[in-house]
């Protein structure tokens, strides 16, 4: 009998953080302008421990102003999507649940696009304009999950299959809305939007938005992590969890809202990056087991690593043009998903 301890969790997270760091350094190196790996790592460590505030001047501008912010965005988007997927899987007791299956991502997309359409027509202060699109995405996500949640209820209780199907149908309906909105837009802006719908980290983010994304992630993650023991029991079954002292209603509401908020934030800054919320939790389960006290942080690191790698591939495979990162995750994710599904059945 060797129960999970806090120090075990911390140690494994340390290893994952190290892997993330290595991935970030490698991702920083790749790109049109060559950069030395050794110099990069040295400068980054110096930056992290506060010894120096400078990255070597030859490539400093490119690394600091272009690659690093984009990678930072990838880290938080990946971590948010992955943690949201992990949470939805416990709530619905379904390993196939993720922000896409539940339609939340599509809701966020519709909200973001609507905000993009409305924005030019209303006079906004610049600091508000910067967060207007993400706000739309966020509201879209929350609204969608509320509707799906209400549709998935049967006799006042959540019925998992009904909920999943409601999510799938809501997703289809919202995709149709997205197609409609795109055809109504002037053709000049649709190409950019199509790329964005497939997931895109290339659009630079205003600093305030970076702050919102980071703060939102840490707040959402903390809320969900506080229920990790409860989620372990929910996985064992609802009636069991209730008799073991879990306040099911409260846990549900907290985790639903927090996971939807994470999805809304991620989708509103990056568009739809599929399969991260579905596959990363699966792979992390294979490595670290099913205990949510370990799985949630592992999923956060895993999601960050996956999206940074995918985005690096997206911007280097077809140089000089760029692929949407969502296309990369889908091309890798779909076959991997089929493989895991077959493995489960076998």
């Amino acid at each position: 009998m060797q129960p999970l301890t806090l120090s075990k969790v911390a140690m494994r997270c340390g290893i994952l953080a190290l892997i993330l760091f290595v991935v970030v350094v490698i991702a920083l190196k790749f790109g049109a302008v060559p950069v030395s790996l050794y110099g990069l790592a040295k400068d980054l460590i110096g930056l992290l421990i506060g010894r120096s505030s400078e990255i070597s001047s030859e490539y400093g501008m490119i690394v600091r102003e272009i690659r690093l912010p984009r990678i930072a965005m990838g880290i938080f988007v990946g971590a948010s999507l992955s943690v949201a997927g992990t949470s939805f899987q416990a709530l619905l007791r379904n390993p196939l649940a993720d922000p896409y299956v539940l339609g939340v991502s599509y809701g966020a997309s519709v909200g973001s696009i609507l905000a993009l359409i409305i924005e030019p027509h209303i006079a906004l202060r610049p600091e508000l304009a910067a967060v207007f699109t993400p706000l739309g995405g966020f509201l879209g996500a929350i609204l969608t999950i509320t509707v799906v949640f209400l549709l998935g209820r049967y006799r006042g209780e959540i019925e998992n299959r009904t909920l999943l199907l409601s999510g799938v149908i809501a997703g289809m309906f919202l995709s149709a809305i997205i197609a409609l909105l795109i055809t109504m837009l002037p053709s000049s802006s649709t190409r950019g939007m199509t790329v964005w719908l497939m997931g895109d980290l290339s659009t630079p983010m205003p600093p305030i938005l970076g702050w919102v994304l980071r703060t939102g992630f840490f707040a959402g993650f903390a809320l969900i992590y506080l229920t990790a023991s409860d989620l372990n029991l929910l996985l064992a079954g609802e009636k069991e969890a209730m008799h073991l002292g879990v306040d099911i209603r409260k846990v549900r509401i907290v985790v639903y809202l927090a996971a939807s908020a994470l999805t809304g934030l991620a989708v509103s800054v990056s568009g739809s990056i599929g399969y991260v919320g579905l596959l990363v939790p699966h792979v992390m389960r294979l490595i670290f087991g099913t205990d949510y006290r370990m799985l949630l942080p592992a999923a956060a690191f895993g999601g960050a690593i996956a999206v940074v790698i995918a985005d690096t591939a997206a911007r280097t495979i077809a140089v000089p043009s760029e692929l949407p990162v969502g296309a990369v995750t889908a091309i890798v994710g779909a076959p991997l998903f089929i493989y895991l599904l077959r493995r489960r059945l076998a």
Partner: protein, 279 residues
């Protein structure tokens, strides 16, 4: 609640669980007439005592158990555990006192036996918790008490039905409850495993002074192991008493709609046999 405790102690210092004139009505839709009603039911359970709730399907046995567990709110009457109404307790506080053994939902991901038993420690402590050495000691003891310590490192889905019921019982013991509720715990067990299970339960009840309520179809096992039985039919509580006093041939034939004989044995434990239909 304080008053309730005092009243209870004046009446009978020993009573741990008191079901007092409890009724319940279930309707899928508030505007419709209820499709199931439980009429006023009363009985008491003392520490170290096993009470079996018996009856055919849809007699209201499980409803009684869920009411006691605090999962349902009585329409009238009250259920007091050491003087406190069970459905008003906080979920965590309730789980520190009441443990439920029931048919398990299927596990979504594989779990080790020891992980499963440690779940019983969840109600004790904060919501986010890491188990400490005390929890491990308690879980180890629980497994030993049900005679399943050799299963500690096995996977839950590779042990037999009888072993699984023991592990589920061990998780309930790890909660260190004062009231143990069991919903058809021997349902899928062969007769040897049924007897083993109830024998263990009887022994633990005597040693740990649990108050035990068990819902079952097994007339003879209840007759053998229960101190009191509660006989139910169509939402009515017909009789409460010792097995010998409740197991009357006419009564059981009418309740279970079949012909049978009841043999009153010298140890005071009645034995029921179903007769072949004579036609």
């Amino acid at each position: 609640m304080e008053r309730g405790a005092q009243d209870g102690s004046r009446m009978n210092a020993d009573v741990r669980l008191s079901v007092e004139q409890v009724s319940y009505a279930y309707s899928p839709n508030p505007s419709q007439a209820p499709i199931f009603t439980l009429e006023a039911t009363s009985f008491q359970v003392r520490p170290g005592e096993i009470v079996a709730v018996l009856g055919p399907n849809a007699s209201g046995k499980s409803t009684v158990l869920r009411l006691i567990a605090g999962a349902l709110q009585p329409l009238s009457g009250r259920i007091l555990l050491n003087g406190a109404e069970t459905h008003l307790m906080e979920p965590r506080a309730r789980a520190q006192k009441i443990a439920m053994v029931q048919q398990e939902s299927q596990l979504l991901f594989p779990a080790k036996v020891w992980e499963f038993v440690l779940q019983g420690r969840h109600p004790h402590g904060k919501s986010l918790r890491f188990e400490n050495s005390d929890d491990v000691t308690i879980a180890t003891n629980a497994l030993r008490q049900v005679g399943a310590d050799h299963l500690t490192d096995r996977w839950m889905d590779e042990i037999s039905g009888g072993e699984k019921q023991r592990v589920i019982l061990a998780r309930a013991l790890a909660q260190q409850p004062v009231l143990l509720l069991l919903d058809e715990p021997t349902l899928h067990l062969d007769i040897g495993a049924q007897v083993d299970f109830l024998h263990t339960l009887k022994k633990l009840t005597a040693v740990n002074r649990y108050a035990v309520v068990i819902v079952t179809h097994e007339l003879n096992l209840a007759g053998e192991y229960a101190d009191q039985v509660v006989l139910m039919q169509k939402g009515k509580c017909l009789r409460v008493g010792t097995p010998a006093s409740v197991y009357q041939r006419d009564l059981l034939e009418q309740v279970f709609q079949t012909r049978l004989t009841v043999e009153q044995r010298v140890n005071g434990r009645p034995k029921v046999s179903v007769l072949e239909s004579s036609e």
